[in-house]
């Protein structure tokens, strides 16, 4: 079973990497880039939101840390590799701050605190023009000089693969089981000796690294960033919706969610222009009311029911 999963994953990775041989259109490559990027972001969010059950609506903070980190550290004259190291450090610092303040709280306070923190950063980026360029924005260096779309696509695929691998590894580790225990019942988890606050913080730290790298990648593709683009609430929402739509707490969920949502968003953008967030709102309501385990969770439940009827063993976990 495990070997079959590994083979399937490797096959999917190889197929994904071969796509540019067939697809020549820059537009389609860019849409695919977005799908993989948000799959990676959704996977990162999923560690906190899906496995640990902590609703973060402020992941734009880490995304923005990555985007602005790359822009500002390279502008200060640092080489790209050092900028990447430093932007990860900044994202980790943000995660420490936000987790330290809010993981002691229960209920909706974590979600609120994550929004508040991301919004403070958003306002700071807008209002410190001498540091961040303010609303005018700041240029970002190009990571690739030639075969731009293809190279960014490869990077997004690799980031997604890394995030998926990390998710699988964590979900099978002691750490992963501790996260799920906290999600199911924090009091019981505490009573068996799980340090809930620290465990959740560790998940957030891992999550923030992938999110920041995604932000840096995104920023470098666009060559120019403004606060409303990389630090907005809408971005935080989109990341959460990707994971919830596909199925929180599963490896496949964010991949499926990103493919569905980003395709739908792309179609809606042409149809409704600025009102394309309408589809996000409707999808959220539909998911919560009718498909709380997301597409993957719902499909798995359906398979299980089928399987039980036909006397087959349940195919998925």
């Amino acid at each position: 079973m495990k070997r079959a999963h590994l083979l399937l994953g490797a096959a999917a990775l190889v197929v994904s990497l071969l796509v540019p041989l067939v697809v020549q259109s820059d537009y389609i490559l860019q849409v695919l880039f977005r799908i993989y990027l948000f799959a990676a972001l959704g996977l990162a969010w999923n560690l906190v939101g899906g496995y640990a059950g902590q609703l973060s609506l402020g992941h734009a903070a880490y995304f923005g840390a990555g985007a602005y980190g790359l822009a500002l550290f390279t502008r200060a004259g640092l080489p790209v590799w050092l900028a990447l190291v430093l932007l990860i450090a900044v994202a980790l610092l943000f995660a420490l701050l936000i987790g330290g303040v809010s993981f002691r709280l229960r209920g909706p306070y974590f979600a609120l605190a994550t929004i508040a923190f991301a919004e403070v950063l958003h306002a700071a980026a807008k209002n410190l023009p001498r540091v961040t360029g303010g609303d005018v924005g700041v240029p970002v260096p190009a990571l690739f000089a030639s075969h731009v779309h293809r190279s960014f696509y490869f990077c997004a695929v690799l980031l997604t693969a890394a995030a998926a691998w990390a998710t699988v590894a964590i979900s099978r580790s002691r750490f992963g089981y501790q996260l799920m225990a906290i999600r199911e019942d924090q009091d019981t988890a505490l009573s068996v000796g799980i340090h809930a606050a620290r465990t959740k913080l560790n998940a957030l730290l891992v999550s923030s690294v992938f999110t920041a790298l995604g932000g840096a990648l995104y920023a470098s593709l666009f060559l120019f960033i403004v606060p409303d683009q990389v630090l907005s609430i809408d971005l935080s929402n989109e990341i959460a919706i990707v994971a919830m739509l596909g199925g929180a707490g599963t490896v496949l969920g964010p991949l499926v969610g990103s493919a569905v949502l980003e395709t739908a968003a792309e179609l809606f953008k042409n149809e409704f222009q600025e009102a394309h967030l309408l589809i996000y709102g409707i999808l959220l309501v539909v998911v919560v009311l009718f498909l709380p385990e997301g597409i993957v969770g719902g499909a798995a439940a359906l398979l299980r029911r089928r399987g039980a009827k036909g006397g087959w063993r349940a195919a998925s976990e």
């Binding site: 059950g53 609703l55 609506l57 303040v101 809010s102 709280l105 209920g107 909706p108 306070y109 979600a111 609120l112 605190a113 929004i115 508040a116 923190f117 919004e119 403070v120 306002a123 700071a124 807008k126 209002n127 609430i233 929402n237 959460a240 919830m244 409704f272 600025e274 009102a275 394309h276 967030l277 309408l278 996000y280 709102g281 409707i282 999808l283 959220l284 309501v285 998911v287 919560v288 009311l289 709380p292």
Partner: protein
């Protein structure tokens, strides 16, 4: 920056703060008392503003007279919204409630944008040109004074409702113990739906009152959702009065921030305040236990 400028800023802050307070009191009823996490609060307020705008545009109704109608309409919408969407996920985690109301908010905001467009609107009332002078240095624009009076009355009404009516008592009973309350003959969902509708209506009334003095656009409510949460947390969860006081504080803090550092920092300061209170005094600064 003389003393009078600061005094004027404080006065302005209190006048704005009264409207914030109304939005916050609605949230205190929904979130603080009923524990329904309502991320669509600002969107409902925005919808109230658009309703008042349409009433003004097509029927010539002044928002200062039209607000009860807007409130009534939004009450019905809020009530149905609870019964149709929130009730089915009753008992599930905050997590799902947040996502559901977030979705409702997004759908409302972008639905309005689809129907009315993203343009900024403003209405023109003769009242806007009237200014009242107190002493030689303090000036108050008349509409703000009118809205302050209405907000005070509406806030007082809401307080009376929560403290002295059967429905209000039932709401507080649910807040105290949501398992025991239904055993005492309280119809949980009817009370919750009523309170949700009322909280939404109060926010929409605040929206109508803001219409003459604010620009109207689909995203206008976004910041109010977060501000309302800030007020409820600052005021102490179950306290309607606390939320109102927090609204006034927020108004004054923002006004002074605008005066000394610029308008852009006002919202950021709200959130810094919020994070500080959450980490240092989770019970709120006015930390009382009851209304």
């Amino acid at each position: 920056m003389d003393l009078f400028a600061a005094l004027q800023a404080v006065v302005n802050g209190i006048l704005t703060g009264a409207l914030y307070a109304l939005v916050g009191m609605g949230m205190a009823l929904i979130f603080g008392v009923m524990r329904i996490v309502n991320f669509a609060h600002g969107a409902f307020m925005m919808l109230g503003m658009y309703a008042a705008y349409e009433l003004f545009l097509h029927a010539g109704v002044n928002p200062y007279y039209g607000f009860p109608l807007v409130g009534l309409g939004m009450f019905v919408l809020g009530y149905s919204c609870y019964q149709g969407l929130l009730r089915p996920i009753h008992g599930r985690s905050d997590f799902m409630q947040i996502l559901l109301t977030l979705g409702i908010g997004l759908a409302l905001t972008d639905g309005v944008q689809l129907v009315f467009g993203a343009d900024y609107h403003q209405i023109n009332l003769p009242l806007l040109e009237k200014n009242l002078h107190f002493g030689s240095h303090i000036t108050v624009n008349a509409p703000w004074l009118v809205s302050f009076a209405i907000a005070l009355a509406a806030g007082g009404g809401l307080y009376f409702f929560v403290m002295h009516t059967m429905m209000g008592r039932a709401a507080r009973a649910i807040a105290q113990n949501r398992n025991a309350a239904p055993l005492m003959g309280i119809h949980l969902h009817r009370v919750q739906a009523f309170c949700f509708g009322l909280g939404v209506a109060v926010a929409a009334v605040a929206g109508s009152l803001l219409l003459p003095v604010f620009y109207l656009y689909p995203g206008v409510g976004d910041q109010f959702t977060l501000k309302a949460f800030v007020m409820v947390v600052l005021g102490g969860m179950e306290s309607i009065v606390g939320a109102a006081l927090a609204g006034l504080v927020l108004g004054v803090v923002e006004s002074l921030t605008s005066l000394y550092w610029g308008n852009e920092w006002a919202l950021a300061l709200d959130f810094v305040l919020f994070l500080l209170v959450l980490s240092l005094r989770p019970g709120g600064i006015f930390g009382s236990q009851r209304a």
